[in-house]
């Protein structure tokens, strides 16, 4: 058997037991890649009770120095996304992304908890705007995050970590090779030799790593070819995207005296619902610094544009995390912000967020040194660009299983997304669904009204993407209900029902829910006229009116908060006022009461359409009522429900109605045939 790491003695026993039961040594789920998608994915499948193998390149790197001047090591380090490694910026969360972490945590995922133990500066973005769009964000200690993540993974029951790189997929012969049954590992420096030609058998496989299909010149060149060829042979549509990373600076060579310090929050808000505080003490948080580019920087970039790899190539780059070259081209004459972010408590490496580039190293040095405070800065490592292939995610079902190959799931950058959180969100969904698939149970599908995860997956699988996809609050039409504060109430129960969330967390959530609902209904029972409220609680921002309103309805007014109300009702509100966490959540719920009621109708409308499923094997090209463009689009996307069909651009209302009619008849004929 492969090189496995299991830390717990008692688990070894269980594993042995299972080992004997499984005569063919097959795993339930094989997860390829130990990045953010892979780790969440493997852990989710394992929580669900499946026997999981996580295949990652190099485990032994824990504790190895990260940055060395030798390029070879850096290359290896970056290209082989190690388990739990943060390959780009040393931070988690942000606007829209913080929502994803909260939702992942509500599904008992790992990254929220690990962010709470590995963060070095916590700062909620958008704090001046409504709580629905607060962006929880934190700087991480890069090393700490990876170590904590690896600890977590290695201590997860049912989860074995195999070291190696995947050479190819093993497909079940016959049936047009439409079922995956395992992976073949490459024989190279890192892999221990296995019997049976390095085959690891698994009942479902999740691919989470994009690099495995990158052509040419990489460390795992041999490995790539087989897998890439298999994917090509299966006729997956493949596109190419690029991304970049900025040079890293030596913090000791930066003159901070000229720069604006950026402090963390006085009271850091944890990412995970099970934590009330984060590990780091508020006053021990690290500092970030803000500096700006200037005309000199811009002229250096402009003069050397012809040397930039990104500018020469025509592949789509990340629009929302653009390289400094594209910023200079697009926004000529404006200075751009650069956040200098520490990479760890014990690291002097600084990540200059905002100047990712693909310029030659000497140009990078002169560009950096033209910036305020960075006059004498030394580069620890130059910035560089990466190109990667992605598989058009419209070839996936909402469960993230590929339509072409049964039991093969894709998650992460391979689906055309960018960002740790986006990857992790897909990972957890692919993980639970690969496990449920093996068990023969229906998949866990979150819809657009369930959460940002639902929005992310629906966007990818129905609309696809032509540039690296990142999450935004504006992508979620129901964002007033999809708030970071209520992710647990939205998702935990759903996840518990399919066995993704453990008993303990579910109980904790139900207990809180009961207290929360009690507080809400108590506030609903306090009813007075508006004038009554105004007088009782001495509220200045309330108009005189005879309209009766409950305490909760009073909170809709942003100028009224719970402490105002509690002055007159100390006994009733004492429970709420004693618990800061509860109080803030009740307050937020009250703020959005109006908007949510208004959205309820839209949500039920959406769900009604989502319940009308379309058959997978419908041949759209034979439907005469569709025009050519619609046929083409529907055949590419193969929407699972009428709802997702309606969200594809360019499908007319009349075609949808016709489609409904057709499918209704189609289903009836099928039932008739079956009965005969």
């Amino acid at each position: 058997m492969a090189y496995e790491i299991r830390n717990l003695q008692k688990l070894r026993f269980i594993e042995k037991f299972r080992y004997r039961l499984c005569h063919d040594l097959a795993y339930d789920v094989i997860v390829v890649g130990g990045g953010h998608a892979g780790t969440e994915c493997a852990a989710a499948a394992a929580r669900n009770g499946s026997r999981v193998a996580l295949i990652t390149h190099d485990l032994t790197k824990i504790g190895r120095p990260i940055y060395q001047k030798s390029k070879a090591v850096i290359f290896l380090y970056y290209k082989n996304c190690d388990m739990g490694e943060m390959s780009c910026n040393p931070s988690f969360g942000g606007i829209g992304k913080g929502h994803l972490i909260r939702e992942i945590d509500a599904l008992d995922g790992l990254c929220g908890r690990i962010c709470d133990t590995s963060g070095i500066q916590y700062k909620v973005l958008n704090k001046r705007k409504g709580p629905a769009v607060w962006g929880l964000r934190a700087q991480m200690d890069r090393n700490l995050y990876r170590v904590n993540m690896q600890k977590e993974i290695l201590n997860t029951p049912n989860l074995s970590v195999l070291q190696g790189s995947v050479a190819d997929l093993i497909l079940l012969p016959g049936m047009n090779k439409r079922i995956v049954e395992g992976v073949q590992l490459a024989i190279n420096f890192y892999t221990y030799k296995l019997a049976d030609g390095n085959i690891v058998k698994g009942r479902s496989v999740v691919l989470t790593t994009g690099n495995t299909i990158v052509h040419g010149g990489r460390i795992n060149e041999v490995a790539s070819v087989g897998l890439a060829k298999t994917i090509e042979d299966l006729k997956f549509n493949i596109g190419r995207l690029k991304t970049g990373t900025p040079p890293r600076l030596d913090g000791k060579t930066i003159d901070y005296s000229k720069l604006v310090p950026q402090y963390g929050d006085e009271k850091p808000i944890p990412f995970s619902f099970i934590n009330r505080t984060v590990k780091i003490k508020p006053d021990e948080q690290s500092l970030c610094f803000l500096t700006l580019t200037n005309p000199l920087t811009h002229s250096i970039v402009t003069k050397n544009l012809h040397l930039s790899q990104h500018v020469r190539e025509e592949i789509r780059g990340p629009r929302y995390c653009p390289s400094i070259e594209s910023k200079v081209i697009r926004f000529n004459g404006r200075n751009h912000q650069i956040f200098l972010e520490p990479e760890g408590l014990n690291s002097s490496v600084i990540y200059p967020n905002g100047i990712s580039c693909t310029l030659p190293e000497d140009v990078q040095i002169s560009m950096v040194r033209s910036i305020d405070g960075l006059k004498d800065a030394e580069l620890v490592q130059p910035g560089y660009g990466v190109e990667y292939d992605y598989i058009d995610p419209r070839q996936l079902k909402p469960s993230l299983e590929t339509r072409k190959v049964s039991r093969l799931f894709l998650a992460g950058q391979i689906n055309g997304t960018t960002g740790y959180e986006e990857a992790a969100a897909q990972g957890i969904i692919a993980g639970i669904n690969s496990s449920l698939k093996v068990k023969g149970m229906p998949p866990l599908i979150l819809d657009r009204a369930d959460g940002y995860i639902g929005v992310l997956i629906d966007d990818l699988t129905t609309r696809g993407t032509s540039e690296p996809y990142r999450m935004f609050t504006s992508r979620a039409e129901f964002r007033l209900r999809l708030r970071p504060d209520n992710a647990d109430l939205r998702l935990t129960e759903k996840a518990y029902k399919v066995g993704l969330v453990n008993e303990q967390r579910f109980k904790k959530m139900t207990k809180f829910k009961a207290t929360f609902n009690k507080a809400i209904s108590m506030l609903k029972e306090l009813r007075f006229s508006e004038s009554g409220w105004k007088e009782r609680c001495n509220l200045s921002g309330v108009r005189h009116s005879g309209e009766f309103k409950s305490g909760l309805e009073m909170l809709i007014n942003s100028r009224v908060n719970l402490s105002d109300i509690s002055k007159s009702f100390p006994a009733e509100l004492s429970n709420i006022m004693e618990d800061d966490y509860l109080r803030s959540r009740v307050e937020i719920e009250g703020n959005y009461l109006n908007a949510i009621e208004r959205q309820d109708k839209d949500v039920s409308e959406l769900r009604r359409l989502e319940h009308m499923t379309l058959p997978d094997n419908l041949d759209y090209t034979k439907l005469g009522f569709l025009d050519e463009e619609e046929k083409d689009k529907l055949s590419t996307v193969v929407p699972q429900t009428l709802g997702s069909a309606s969200r594809i651009d360019g499908i007319s209302a009349s075609s949808l109605v016709q489609l409904l009619k057709f499918v209704k008849k189609y289903k009836e004929t099928k039932i008739l045939e079956r009965n005969l």
Binding site: L480, Q599, S604, S654, L656, K661, K664
Partner: protein, 468 residues
């Protein structure tokens, strides 16, 4: 016995609850099913759980009509209690209806005013929304009803077509109105984009004042939309025709003009100044549009109490007019006293303004200067006069009631004008029904709420989506 009652109560309660749940799940929608435009009979369909409530409210009774029978009922507007129309109501209780849900059909007179009245009334009923394209058919399908309608094309695309018609109506509409709506739509879209950018890119955006700008813009648009919609809420105009008042000094040929329009001696015509005292009304069809002409007393200083009353009536009629035909006697002026001509024209217009009670009409009043008695002057003089007036930005028409010269031109001009007026009225009708009552309310209130909260943007989003 006790348990029986208890059991019954429980059943009632369960039914009540399940009804509540159903209400939450299913919305009630309505739409004109017979297509837009004037027709003999229009059919407005309502379907969904709140249908019975709507029917009861609008017929002011607690009894529903006999199912599947045509019942002649008076239909009222719930908020005001005004009678809208008398029409047939067909009541199809679930599940025996086209959609499989409760469904009612209102067969009413096909005038725009009646349709608007019914739609407004339906919109006032709590929980009713205008249907989107294909709504009825979709419901029919969902409830397993569609197969009953085996006939191709019966129900399937009606609403999609209605949508297309709506778009076409917008396209064909008078350029300046559609431009106005496009302008609003565009600025709202920009507002949404600005707010979303400040939310999603708050780290990168250094400029302040974006939200304030948005707040200003939205307040401004809200104001414009409000006055636009409310100003034009005049079902009367559509019901009884555009109100055109013929006004001017005495003895210029106002009554002759009226008689020419209606092709009969409706008003007494004589060479004596001040023949017409009372207002004489005649309904005439101009280019297919109903127009109500009012001939009024000539305005001049008078001591005669009867004539004074007549002049008062003339002025009050002018103040409520949709359109004024200001008739002047061409023979009394020549090029030399053009100034006095203009002066007297303006005087008459401004005079009616002084007495005007309704400020709304003040700004919008539309008029045409009709220079009568062209047969008494040379063509050259007439043309020069016309040119002078046109240069001042006044629409002018030269006619002779005596010979009939220029009447064709005048009728053509009027029918163009009527077309404009009807179209501008028609559009808000369609446009208004696209608004959900709640949105309208919240949109009106946006100027009092702060935009900086993320909630308000949803309102703008919805308004933009629905208004597009």
């Amino acid at each position: 016995m006790l348990t029986a009652i208890h059991g019954w109560k429980v059943k009632q309660w369960v039914r009540f609850c399940s009804n509540q749940v159903q209400d939450l799940l299913r919305s009630t929608v309505f739409a004109v099913s017979s297509g837009h435009g004037v027709s003999g009979v229009s059919v407005i369909r309502v379907t969904g759980p709140k249908t019975s409530q709507a029917v009861k409210l609008m017929t002011k009774t607690n009894n529903l009509p006999k199912p599947r029978y045509a019942s002649l009922k008076k239909i009222y507007q719930p908020s005001t209690g005004d009678l809208v129309d008398k029409g047939l109501i067909l009541w199809f209780p679930a599940p025996n209806s086209f959609t499989g849900e409760d469904l009612a059909e209102f067969h009413v007179h096909g005038g725009s005013a009646v349709i608007e009245g019914i739609l407004t009334s339906l919109q006032e009923v709590d929980g009713l929304y205008p249907a989107m394209a294909g709504d009825f058919t979709r419901r029919a399908f969902e409830n397993g009803k569609l197969d009953l309608t085996e006939v191709e094309g019966l129900g399937d695309l009606i609403h999609a077509q209605t949508e297309a018609q709506r778009k076409q109506a917008i396209r064909q509409m008078d350029g300046h109105l559609s431009q106005l709506y496009k302008k609003w739509s565009k600025s709202l879209l920009k507002c949404v984009a600005d707010i979303e950018a400040t939310i999603d890119f708050s780290e990168d955006i250094i400029e302040d004042g974006i939200l304030e700008n948005v707040q200003d813009t939205v307040t401004q648009i809200a104001k414009e939309v409000r006055s636009h919609l409310e100003d034009r809420r005049k079902g009367e105009k559509l019901r009884s025709g555009v109100n055109v008042v013929i006004a001017g000094p005495p003895n210029v040929g106002k009554s002759s003009l009226l008689n020419l329009f209606c092709q009969r001696p409706a008003a007494i015509v004589s060479p004596v100044e001040g023949t017409t005292r009372d207002v004489v009304e005649t309904a005439v069809n101009i280019g297919g549009y109903p127009v109500l002409f009012s001939d009024t007393a000539g305005i001049r200083p008078s001591m005669d109490p009867v004539e004074k009353e007549g002049i008062k009536r003339a002025k009050s009629r002018m103040s409520t007019a949709d359109f004024i035909l200001l008739v002047l006697d061409l023979s009394k002026y020549d090029v030399s006293n053009m100034a006095s001509l203009l002066e007297s024209t303006l005087k008459i217009l401004s005079k009616h303004k002084d007495d005007n009670m309704d400020i709304h009409h003040d700004e919008n009043i539309d008029y045409l200067i009709v220079l009568n008695k062209v047969d008494l002057v040379s063509n050259e003089v007439a043309l020069r006069m016309k040119e002078t007036l046109t240069n001042k930005g006044m629409d002018t028409c030269i006619i002779s009631c005596e010979t009939g010269d220029g009447i064709e031109n005048l009728t053509k001009f009027l029918s163009e004008k009527m077309k404009d007026m009807y179209d501008t009225e028609m559009f808000p009708l369609i446009y208004k029904s696209m608004w959900r009552p709640g949105d309208r309310e919240s949109f009106y209130n946006t100027d009092s709420t702060s935009i900086s909260s993320d909630g308000s943007i949803e309102v703008i989003r919805i308004v933009h989506k629905n208004g597009r």
